[in-house]
């Protein structure tokens, strides 16, 4: 077991500070790609580190520390998406129940690097991705948007490569229908 992990297990604050410094932007990037909401992505970052602190004793070293941490972050992002979806459904059913809830569309942030002439297409695609169910959305984002290898995405989502392929294929069909 390397020094970094040993420090974390022993509860060394400096080791943990280093870990946060090294991983915070990577976690934020992945969460932002999935959630596209800065506030929620920051929450995911914080929750991920708290989870890492609580579960570091159970880290067996089957994967690298970075894969393990990003997997936690993706799991947290998925949880957030599912919760948001449930809240949206509830708001649709009972609008008087949560009248002052912020509209998720308004809080969505677009990558500032998207070129002006591509903006319309990018928006349409983002909107279609948002309509997918959480698992399809994450798989599609990792494979098609982040262009990650299937093996890596499978490790991060804790699913088989076949399951990821199936999720991406279904996501593509749904997106094509949305974009018609």
């Amino acid at each position: 077991m390397n020094k970094e992990i040993q420090g974390l297990i022993l509860g060394d604050e400096f080791a943990f500070r280093d870990l946060v410094k090294n991983y915070q932007n990577r976690i934020f990037h992945h969460s932002m790609q999935i959630l596209r909401n800065r506030e929620e992505a920051e929450d995911v970052c914080q929750e991920t580190f708290v989870q890492v602190f609580e579960s570091i004793h159970s880290f067996k070293g089957d994967s690298t520390l970075s894969t393990w941490i990003i997997r936690i972050a993706i799991h947290k992002s998925l949880e957030k998406l599912r919760r948001k979806k449930r809240r949206d459904q509830l708001r649709e059913l009972l609008p008087w129940w949560m009248p002052n809830e912020e509209n998720s569309e308004e809080a969505t942030e677009w990558n500032p690097e998207i070129q002006l002439e591509n903006k319309e297409k990018a928006m349409a695609l983002y909107h279609a991705i948002e309509q997918l169910n959480p698992n399809q959305r994450v798989a599609f984002t990792l494979i098609k948007v982040e262009e990650m290898p299937y093996a890596e995405a499978s490790e991060l989502m804790n699913l088989s490569i076949k399951a990821i392929e199936s999720l991406v294929s279904r996501a593509k069909e749904n997106i094509k229908k949305q974009l018609k």
């Binding site: 990037h29 920051e42 602190f53």
Partner: protein
């Protein structure tokens, strides 16, 4: 429904963009959150320990009260038996 090629055209508009970056460092808030959590856990543990001690004391008191009650009952029974015995002896 769009074709595969059209979907690829859409995808090209959002692929290869730079990575998202945090606007501020999260180290201090995260460390603060963890310290708060540890403190909460310690407080919970202390409360649980105090509650356990209290429950033990209450059980002890109940046990002692039961024991005392038993002794009182036994002496009362003994007294009653001896009374009966005395009455029986008088009858004879």
């Amino acid at each position: 429904m769009k074709s595969e090629k059209e979907l690829d055209d859409y995808l090209k508009t959002i692929q290869g963009l730079s990575t998202w970056k945090l606007e501020h460092d999260l180290t201090d808030p995260v460390i603060g959150k963890i310290k708060e959590k540890v403190k909460d856990q310690n407080t919970t543990t202390q409360w649980l320990a105090a509650a356990s001690v209290l429950i033990c004391m209450l059980s002890g008191l109940l046990f002692l009260a039961g024991l005392k009650e038993k002794q009182a009952l036994a002496s009362y029974q003994l007294k009653e038996v001896s009374k009966m015995y005395a009455i029986n002896n008088l009858n004879y």
